[in-house]
């Protein structure tokens, strides 16, 4: 082994000739999104160029969803400037989007593995029904929540066992679960019945607002934490994230969140309303906390890395010593757990649970939201923020179309507010997103 030193010398010798060995063109495609530690100094221009390079390489991320949001807001804003761009509609629209967003975050776990959970909507429904019936039976809030989440975890463990251990394709298992869980939901709420929720905490999650003071405190706290994490990340990046980028990002956050909070703190009720509505909708900080917590799980913990690895190359993950079955099993449990949070959102919106909670198009919209946001159905690619962006797109479409309503376009009378048009537009949006996913996959493969 004495030759190691010699080797090191000969190996090291050529390096001084070349001041930046092999790094003259810096690729920080990950740096922008996650956590690069590359030791190259990047200027703002480099970062911009790298982003362009990455996009041209086919890795569009959530860019299509952001573009869709901008385009939709522009179209609806021009068509219905008074109603669509009103603060009241904005707050309502966030409430409409919230439950789909949370369930989309839930299914992201199994989508990352290339699996699917068609029954996540009913998992949400069942756990919401458990919560509602426990509260109706006079249980205090915390035990009711524990019961609700406990049931969700059991459902997730059941699904995960059948997929990971027994080896049934997730599509088949969760297809059966759609019927199974729907049956459980019907038994809990009694056919056609509805269970009212009279707990203010639950009812205020969707539809409730913070006071104006609370709104400012939450906003300042949020921006401060964002700035802190950005500065820390910059310090750990050894120059691959330029400080100017951090300043721009934090500056945008300060302006954006400040403007948002100031607007939401205005009264947005109709003039005829008995009392004013002002303050930030509670769903905003709730979803922000969920996104941050779940993104932390995916990006900074070993378990998250395993999810991406198994989704990217199952065999490679297995050979690397990762317990693939356990990762897959627990992914379904995570999906059920987050779906249960989505169930609370669903119940909170209407202050009750019935046999339709989590049914109908809930799950389809959630999966659609994740995919529109840029999460791949093929596994291995996706982020929590995608669920939020995609969920906003899918909520914008029916909201805006509903406000446009009956219009004459090119001589035809079209009712944009009809369910038919809304479904067709949402379906087309999903198809576009799936095409982008498939094409970018082709390009990067």
């Amino acid at each position: 082994m004495s030759n190691i030193d010699d080797t090191a010398d000969t190996v090291a010798a050529p390096i001084p000739d070349d001041p930046t060995p092999g790094v003259s063109i810096v690729d920080t495609s990950l740096a922008l999104t996650d956590f690069s530690l590359d030791e190259q100094q990047n200027s703002l221009g480099d970062v911009f160029n790298n982003t362009i390079t990455r996009l041209r390489g086919g890795d569009l991320g959530s860019l299509p969803a952001i573009l869709a949001i901008v385009v939709l807001v522009a179209i609806f804003g021009i068509a219905r400037p008074d109603s669509f761009l009103s603060l009241l509609n904005f707050a309502n629209f966030l409430d409409q989007a919230s439950s789909v967003i949370v369930i989309a975050m839930a299914v992201t776990f199994v989508l990352l593995l290339g699996d699917i959970d068609l029954a996540a909507g009913f998992t949400a429904g069942v756990s919401a029904a458990v919560l509602a019936t426990r509260l109706a039976d006079g249980w205090p809030l915390v035990p009711s929540l524990i019961a609700s989440f406990g049931v969700a975890l059991l459902l997730g463990a059941f699904t995960g066992f059948l997929v990971a251990k027994v080896g049934i394709p997730s599509f088949v298992v969760t297809l059966a679960n759609v019927l199974l869980f729907q049956g459980i939901l019907l038994l809990i709420v009694k056919d056609g019945g509805s269970v009212r929720i009279q707990n203010d905490f639950i009812n205020d999650i969707v539809g409730g607002t913070l006071t104006t003071t609370q709104s400012w405190i939450i906003s300042i706290l949020g921006v401060a934490l964002y700035a802190f994490s950005q500065i820390r990340r910059q310090r750990d990046s050894y120059g691959s994230i330029p400080m100017s980028l951090v300043v721009i990002r934090v500056g945008l956050a300060v302006v954006g969140v400040g403007l948002l909070t100031a607007l939401l703190n205005q009264n947005r009720a109709f003039a005829s309303a008995p009392e004013p509505i002002k303050g930030m909708p509670i769903v905003i900080p709730m979803i922000a906390v969920l996104v941050v917590a779940l993104s932390f799980l995916l990006n900074r913990l070993r378990y998250g890395r395993f999810l991406y690895a198994v989704g990217g190359n199952r065999e490679a993950a297995r050979r690397a010593g990762i317990n693939v079955q356990r990762v897959e099993w627990t992914a379904f449990i995570w999906t059920a757990f987050v779906a249960a949070i989505g169930g609370i959102f669903l119940a909170s919106r209407v202050n009750s649970v019935d046999s339709n909670t989590g049914a109908n198009d809930t799950l389809l919209l959630a999966v659609g939201a994740a995919v529109i946001g840029g999460t791949s159905l093929f596994g291995g690619r996706g982020r929590m923020i995608n669920a939020v962006l995609g969920g906003l797109v899918l909520a914008l479409i029916p909201n805006g179309l509903g406000l446009i309503g009956k219009t004459t376009l090119f001589g035809y009378d079209i009712d944009f507010g009809s369910s038919g048009v809304k479904f067709i537009c949402s379906g087309l949006a999903l198809l576009v997103a799936a095409s982008v996913d498939a094409l970018s996959r082709k390009r990067t493969a």
Partner: protein
């Protein structure tokens, strides 16, 4: 090769001389392995020397992969013993093999396209600090490993593997195997899918690997690669070792091909199914 590929005196002495003074790092003796009625390995003796490149050649079905999998702990052996560093060892699982520092780079490389180079190299053995992934430590270690192999073809260790060429992928797979404690690296067809320039890159990497004292085993169907890079060659024929000879310049491509196709060539090879000198 004008570069750092053969920098050590120990390494140089191998090329010219047939005498092996170095003790083998791994010595497999009398290995037999059957799958049901099929007797795949017959009394196989196999040695890996530190700082040397041993080529394992043979036709499809000759038993190369089975032998490698026995050494790597994927298959158990029926009879026979393994000595590592002169000590008798039992390898029952890939974990046992990895603990001894025996690493295998399979032909399919087993890389995750959706992860970057560092993430791939540390897959399954991530460095965790205070509960979260220590990206900085992992990146430094990955960088050092790549530097120790003089890999300069990769732009950034944060590149996604999906964006790498075939040769770069092979490089990452080898670096992944070398990371941490590695004494023996077994490469299964490392140049099979590569172009000329990339093949050359990988072969240089293999030379540097052995120059650092690692025992390298290279399975290859490409006799040019074998003659170019290997110090000795083990030819397998129908589950037996047909010849275990140093590549001293007298061994030609034809000899190797004959050994592979008929198990015999001139003075080398099997005599009536028994290994001769």
């Amino acid at each position: 090769m004008q570069d750092s590929s053969s920098p050590t005196s120990a390494h140089d002495s191998v090329g010219g001389s047939t005498s092996e003074t170095v003790a083998p790092l791994l010595e497999a003796h009398g290995i037999n392995k059957s799958f049901g009625p099929v007797h795949v390995l017959h009394d196989v003796d196999f040695k890996v020397y530190p700082g040397r490149i041993t080529a394992l050649i043979g036709d499809n079905g000759a038993g190369k992969s089975t032998l490698v999998k026995c050494i790597a702990g994927i298959y158990g052996t029926d009879t026979g013993d393994l000595q590592f560093d002169g000590v008798e060892v039992a390898i029952h699982s890939p974990k046992d093999a990895a603990a001894l520092g025996i690493k295998v780079v399979y032909q399919d490389l087993a890389l995750c396209d959706n992860l970057d180079i560092v993430q791939n190299m540390f897959l399954g053995r991530e460095i965790v600090r205070r509960g979260t992934l220590d990206e900085h430590a992992m990146e430094l270690a990955a960088r050092q490993t790549l530097a120790s192999l003089s890999v300069r073809t990769v732009k950034s260790v944060r590149q996604l593997v999906a964006s790498l060429s075939g040769g770069q992928r092979q490089t990452v797979a080898i670096a992944k195997a070398v990371l941490g404690n590695s004494r023996i690296v077994i490469l299964d067809e490392p140049t099979a899918a590569l172009g000329v320039a990339q093949t050359e890159q990988v072969l240089q990497l293999v030379r540097r690997l052995s120059a650092s004292g690692v025992g390298v085993v290279i399975i290859s169907h490409n006799m040019n690669d074998v003659l170019e890079v290997a110090d000795r060659v083990c030819a397998m024929y129908l589950g037996r070792i047909a010849a275990d000879i140093p590549l001293d310049g007298t061994v030609t491509r034809e000899t190797l091909v004959e050994l592979i196709t008929s198990g015999r060539s001139g003075a080398h090879g099997l005599v009536n199914g028994v290994a001769g000198a």
